[in-house]
Amino acid sequence: MLGPIAVEEMAGQADLVIASLSGYDAFTGELDADVAAIRLQLAPSDDIEIGSVPGSPIAVVLVYQRGAVDARALSVSVLSPLRQGQTASLPATAEVGAVEDAVRHVLDGDLLLLQQGSPNVLVLHLPAALQAAKPSAERVVRGPNEAFTEAFYQNLALLRRMAKHPRLRVEIGQLPGNPQRQFAIAYVQGEASLVVRADLLQRLKQVHIMDVVDVTVLKPALADDPYSPFVNVQLTERVDLAAIAATEGRYVLFTAGSAQVLLLPATFVEMMNSPEDRYLPRYLGDLARVTRWLGFGIALTLEALFIAVTTIHQELLPTPLAFAIARSRSGVPLPVAGEILVMAIVVEVLREAAIRLPAPLSQTISIVGALVIGQAVVQANLISGPVIVVISVAALASFVLPQYEMALIVRFLRFPAMACAAALGLYGVAIFALLTVLHLASLRSFGVAYLSPLAPLHNRQVSRILRLPLRVQRRLQPS
């Protein structure tokens, strides 16, 4: 559409003059210098189109975000008049002379028209092409409700619109396994680690998968430890979460056709945080986070602890509770571990069935599972009442985890925890906890310790775990 070659030549010259542009804050009318000034403020980025208009009798350069501008409107309202040498009919809304103002307009989704000899830049406004989807898996009560779509460039523009960061850089490439499939990494220059970038690009080079229909397919190829059940990248459909991640120095990975993006590096703590925490008052947000950590612990170990104390360490139970459990178990044919295992499998089956069935039916299945099966097995004396309570609480606790993958991991790990508890009681649970923590401590996500900032503990990043008052956060900021 535009003439990139000419601009690349300009870029080459521009790089030479960038060093002399310190303090450059207004346009001069010299196209080379003006383009260089824009590049200086707006990090070189593959989603920012800077190019001349082939066939135009006047020397102009257009600057805009791909994906934020409707291609048809651009062709009809801007390119055609320019090819005819007309500028009067362009949908100009303003003229700016300051580079900073011009950059702000680009980030807002407008077009800039730079003309040779004019120290002012025309700001062109076209009908908005951006249409965000609604989040389906990561809904929040408070806060923005924008999700990515399947449109590649539109996703990049959505991120840029939300982040509004002049140093947000986007690099676009092709996956080696399928050159038709584009990918993009977005990051904030100066914030994100270049070591992680090199590592990420190296891993992407080794992806030889043809059917990268969704960005999630790349997860195994990006894994640091292929045998670990824990994931080292964070999947999200939310634009605000991706924008926050980018401004915090993380990378956002897009693939063409995917309505989700991967955030990396991703640590265990980040998997436990929800974007909504930021939109709630501090104490409420912290309370939600603490609830989630508790939920993680309950979902992972409650069933195992119940098996341990009822099977091996009955002395730990208060006497009335021990009698109550014993009464409810009278006539139940299975041992406690067997009861828990059977019910855990039933719950898993119900959960899978609820996901696979159409929405109206899935609700029915949930009710059938919760009420009918639960009550029926107790009445039939197949399972004791306390086991139903334990299983239900553990299942509920797993739902508080914001990342679906994390909930799946917990569901998977509680089975070995139950086996350890059934065999060796609390000692088994203790060793299981130790092995889990040792495993987590050994993991890394693109060079970052997976347990960071918990272990190693970084005081300055403690607000990633619990939000601190702004005054304290400012004090912890590195000078």
């Binding site: 091996i312 730990l316 060796l424 130790l434 401590a441 050994s442 918990l454 190693p456």
Partner: protein
């Protein structure tokens, strides 16, 4: 197994947690002994004595740790040629020998305390798996796990201690001075033992880098060895053995134990033992990792993997034998350690420091 872990990069905070974990003695798990029950009658003074006995060595450790991080003792000494390797081998062995003791006490305590019907081999096998898994990742992984577990364990102990407050009775907090004095002495001794094992070695490692600080290293070596010797002599006079000082080495734990046994709240016993079995497993992992790392530094870095497996299997396997004749074998091992290694410390350190200084001087001259 991933082979020899990369050079350790651990923070001073992590190392501090490791020290806290390491001085949690395995004998603490040997609950129910008559002496511990007797101590429980003197809950308040036990708490004070425990806190004092633990705080002083900890403060010294903190001082060391601040100078130490990142831990690069192995790399530093290894580059010093044969002398450095000898020193590493010595410290590696000095750390490896008590492993057998810890394992046996660990398995015995668990089989007695909370799993009387479980065969010892099952406990030892699961513990060995955890140790091998942790040692695989090297000291960094153990340090991170320790950093996460130590505050949790201390908080749990605090909660347990708070739970016993309703049972507090004034007749249980009367002072019994002689025991307290003995406890202070032996508490200090116990912490110094560890101190001389790891912290001391690492501190000297940093001091001997610079010829100007070698005299200070020698002063430390002499004074600490002397203090250790005095305590070893003084302990029998006070009729107190190292095992019993377990009560006093960690303040919160001491409080819980003291109150616990004072009021015989048996229900908490299992919970405490189960919770601390994690820390002891972590301690075993740390000792195996450190000893194998030092030995691997002294020999070949490829040896780390094999050494870890051999050390873990030997210690876990021997525990099954030791639990049947624990007292005698433990006594033999302690005799071996105290009489065999402790005196050699001084001589070896002196020799190595002189060699290193000479090597430094030659390098400077060249």
């Amino acid at each position: 197994m991933t082979g020899y872990p990369a050079r350790a990069r651990i923070t001073s905070r992590q190392l501090l947690y490791l020290i806290v974990l390491t001085i949690v003695p395995v004998q603490e798990l040997g609950a129910g002994g008559p002496l511990l029950r007797e101590y429980g009658k003197d809950a308040l003074w036990s708490l004070v004595a425990g806190a004092t006995a633990a705080t002083v060595p900890l403060l010294i450790s903190v001082h060391i740790v601040r100078r130490l991080a990142p831990l690069d003792l192995g790399a530093t000494l290894r580059s010093r040629g044969l002398a450095g390797r000898l020193l590493l081998a010595f410290f590696g062995l000095a750390l490896a020998v008590p492993l057998f003791n810890i394992w046996s006490a660990y398995v015995q305590t668990l089989t007695v305390e909370i799993l009387p019907h479980t065969p010892g081999w099952a406990i030892a096998a699961l513990g060995a798996a955890a140790v091998l898994y942790g040692a695989r990742g090297g000291i960094e992984v153990v340090a991170r796990a320790g950093e996460l577990f130590a505050p949790i364990a201390i908080a749990a102990m605090g909660v347990l201690a708070a739970m016993t407050i309703p049972w507090l009775h004034v007749s249980y907090i009367l002072p019994i001075w002689p025991q307290t004095a003995a406890a202070l002495t032996t508490g200090g001794y116990h912490a110094f033992t560890f101190f001389s094992e790891v912290g001391f070695a690492a501190y000297l490692g940093t001091l001997v880098r610079d010829p100007s600080t070698v005299p200070r290293a020698l002063w430390w070596a002499l004074s600490l060895s002397f203090a250790e010797l005095l305590m070893a002599i003084g302990m029998p006079l006070l009729m107190f053995t190292p095992e019993h000082v377990a009560l006093l080495t960690v303040p919160l734990l001491s409080a819980v134990r003291a109150i616990h046994y004072g009021f015989l709240i048996e229900r908490l016993d299992t919970a405490v033992v189960a919770a601390y079995s994690v820390l002891v497993a972590l301690k075993l992992t740390l000792w195996t990792t450190l000893s194998c790392r030092l030995l691997a530094d002294a020999t070949s870095q490829r040896a780390y993997r094999s050494l870890t497996v051999i050390a873990t299997a030997a210690a876990a396997g021997s525990s099954l034998v030791l639990v049947h004749n624990l007292a005698q074998v433990q006594a033999n091992l302690q005799t071996l350690w105290f009489n065999g290694f402790a005196p050699v410390y001084l001589g070896a350190l002196l020799l190595i420091a002189i060699l290193l200084r000479a090597s430094r001087a030659r390098t400077a001259h060249a």
